[in-house]
């Protein structure tokens, strides 16, 4: 298995293509296990370059209402860590190339058993992990074990991450760097272009890794604007909102994939302002 290189390969490809990668977030199991798997399977064709799959948690402290509700829908539908990993495995039956990163909170991983989780995740075909509430200060052992399992730990840089802290956060980073572009929860207002440009320059002083920008990006225009400075654009709340608003599971899938197509077109539009 060459799971470690899937992220690198894909990000090199989009770079060669002279466009930012589109990273799409959905919550595993939202609104129900079957629909969620269908949504996941259709993402690459709709234009997603990298997939972020949320592991639902009862207490998503860094998430706004959209992802909170999405997590609850998934949990009410019986989603578990095991089912999320099984979902990745089924996705991998048909797709060996699209990088998939799991995103979530530490407790469900801790409870599963960190080592066992890493092993099972690697086996299922997971390429990276974003753990919102596990800062680099904690559990060096976990980070080391992740590397041994061939799983990237994606580091988060935020508007408050500066100076020594920035260096510390980037020290062991791999895969890509996730710039949380606004101080706030997911689904907030989009960042200003100026602030993103400035911070990205600071980040690039300390790392050669691709930098993805997320939080508050909703529309194709937002994505195109931010994509001018970044290597990847991450969209989440705007996608799970499609599930919330849809009248049926089929409609949810359709609307979400439509939104992804729209975002992907925005990032490929070279003539747009």
């Amino acid at each position: 298995m060459n799971s470690t290189s899937r992220l690198d390969t894909r990000l090199a490809a989009t770079k060669a293509d002279k466009r930012p990668a589109l990273v799409t977030y959905i919550t595993a199991g939202d609104p129900d296990p079957d629909t969620s798997l269908d949504i996941l399977r259709g993402l690459p064709e709709a234009g997603a370059d990298i997939i972020e799959l949320g592991m639902p948690f009862t207490d998503p402290m860094a998430d706004g209402p959209a992802i909170q509700k999405s997590s609850l829908r998934a949990l009410n539908g019986g989603q578990t860590q095991k089912k999320t990993l099984a979902m990745v495995q089924r996705f991998r039956e048909h797709d060996r190339d699209t990088p998939l990163v799991l995103m979530g909170y530490y407790n469900p991983i801790y409870r599963y058993g960190a080592d066992r989780f890493l092993r099972d995740a690697a086996e299922a075909g997971v390429d990276g992990l974003i753990i919102v509430d596990l800062p680099p200060d904690h559990d060096q052992a976990f980070f080391d074990a992740a590397r041994d399992a061939g799983i990237h730990i994606i580091r988060l840089v935020t508007p408050t991450t500066k100076g020594e802290r920035l260096k510390q956060v980037l020290r062991d980073a791999s895969g890509f760097v996730y710039y949380v572009s606004v101080a706030g929860v997911t689904g907030a207002a989009p960042p200003t272009q100026d602030s993103v440009a400035t911070t990205l320059a600071a980040i690039r002083e300390h790392t050669d890794l691709p930098v993805g920008v997320g939080f508050g990006i909703r529309t194709a225009e937002d994505a195109a604007a931010i994509g001018r400075f970044s290597d990847a654009v991450i969209v989440g709340s705007a996608l799970v909102d499609c599930v919330e608003r849809a009248e049926s599971p089929a409609a949810a899938r359709q609307a979400l994939h439509e939104r992804v197509r729209d975002l992907a077109a925005g990032l490929r539009c070279r003539t747009c302002p």
Partner: protein
């Protein structure tokens, strides 16, 4: 100094519990808080300002009162009440609020946020914020707003804005999630006043230090009144701040037994309770590793207690550590037992305790009768029960019964 009086390590761990498991955005903020707190601890001016407010605003020291009639009623141990319910705003909570809001002022913050369960921490924070001229926003679960209505109005009178939280079960845990979401959004002007010995480092140690005035006074008063240290200390536990405050100055005294009382709800075996140590497992929530109520998949499960202030699925990390060390004994008391002790305290001592406090009193009722009169038992009377009239009336089937 005993091993138990240690500070947490540099990452905020008490043994394997504690830490700072928060979103990256918050890390520089809690580091700044930690630095400011360290400086304030050694700053004479800060300490004297704190002492001034404790004395003239809160009304400290609170009496250590020998509850003779209750002692006679049980016919066993001599029972003392540490009268934290006599503090301004009616609970121990204000000891910590004064400290934290003074820190906020020192850091140049102007906007105070807090979570509250029973509303006592919210009321105390609102009062202190008003006194120090800061704006105050309190997050409170909708379930709790209903059962602690008088405190909602009280906070509003004190000028605080109450934001109802409907997510989850609409209780303390959900209010804390919302407060954290606020903090991560308002990083420049906002200070988050956490109401118990939980949250990311340095909160558990800092809140403990501010509450330790309870134990320090108790020690002095007991030496004064009885010429020796107490034999046992009893306190209720939501997050564990009134218990930590009473226990901490005695941790090195091997002869002093300590009992923390969790909320047993309908009974730990029923699954409907808030006893994280008696019925939970280690996990990570709200910035620290501790014992939690959670399912097999690491999802947090709903706590249950008749008392809003104990209705929390976690416990402060230092308690988790003391539990595993065996230094403090942790037990649980059901809604029914607490309600009986509540009524007993009203009738025997003419003191209406908070429902939270009634859990500690129920444990006293269990232990005291079998102990000799020489046994000196201190119970932390953490708060008064004015806020609980509606819950009690409903439980008893109407005020006349």
């Amino acid at each position: 100094m005993s091993v138990y009086s240690m500070q947490p390590d540099a990452n905020g761990f008490f043994g394997r519990f504690g830490g700072r498991f928060v979103a990256e955005t918050l890390i520089p903020l809690i580091e700044a808080l930690q630095t400011c707190y360290k400086e304030a601890r050694d700053d004479r001016e800060f300490q004297s300002r704190l002492a001034y407010f404790q004395r003239d605003y809160v009304g400290r020291p609170s009496p250590l009162y020998r509850a003779d009639r209750l002692t006679d009623y049980f016919g066993g141990a001599t029972i003392y009440f540490k009268r934290e319910e006599l503090n301004h705003t009616g609970a121990h909570k204000i000891n910590n609020c004064i400290g934290q809001v003074l820190l906020a002022q020192r850091m140049g913050k102007t906007r105070i946020i807090a979570e509250t369960g029973a509303g006592m921490h919210g009321v105390a924070t609102a009062a202190v914020a008003a006194r120090l001229g800061m704006s105050c926003i309190v997050y409170m679960g909708e379930t709790d707003m209903e059962r602690q209505q008088p405190n909602v109005f009280r906070m509003q009178l004190l000028g605080a804005e109450i934001i109802p939280v409907s997510s989850g079960t609409g209780t303390l845990k959900d209010a804390m999630n919302e407060a954290l979401r606020d903090w991560v959004t308002n990083i420049d002007d906002t200070f988050y006043v956490i109401g118990t010995v939980a949250g990311p480092h340095p909160y558990p140690a800092m809140v403990r230090d501010f509450q330790s005035v309870i134990g320090r006074e108790t020690r002095e008063q007991m030496l004064d009144q009885e010429g020796r240290l107490p034999d046992s200390l009893v306190a209720c536990i939501g997050g564990g701040s009134n218990a930590m405050g009473l226990f901490h100055p005695f941790l090195a005294d091997d002869g002093v037994q300590m009992i923390g009382v969790e909320a047993g709800g309908h009974g730990v075996e029923s699954g409907k309770h808030a006893a994280s140590l008696s019925g939970g497992t280690p996990g990570v929530l709200h910035g620290n590793r501790t014992y939690l109520l959670q399912d097999e998949d690491g999802q947090i499960t709903d706590a249950h207690s008749i008392s809003a202030g104990l209705d929390y699925p976690g416990i402060g990390p230092e308690h988790a550590w003391l539990h595993e060390q065996g230094r403090v004994e942790y037990v649980s008391i059901t809604d029914r037992e607490a309600m009986e002790a509540f009524q007993l305290c009203c009738r025997q001592e003419g003191i209406i305790p908070a429902l939270e406090t009634a859990h500690a009193l129920a444990e006293v009722a269990r232990r005291a009768p079998a102990l000799p009169r020489e046994h000196l038992m201190v119970v932390n009377l953490s708060g008064r029960g004015d806020k609980d009239m509606a819950s009690v009336a409903e439980y008893l089937g109407g005020p006349s019964r």
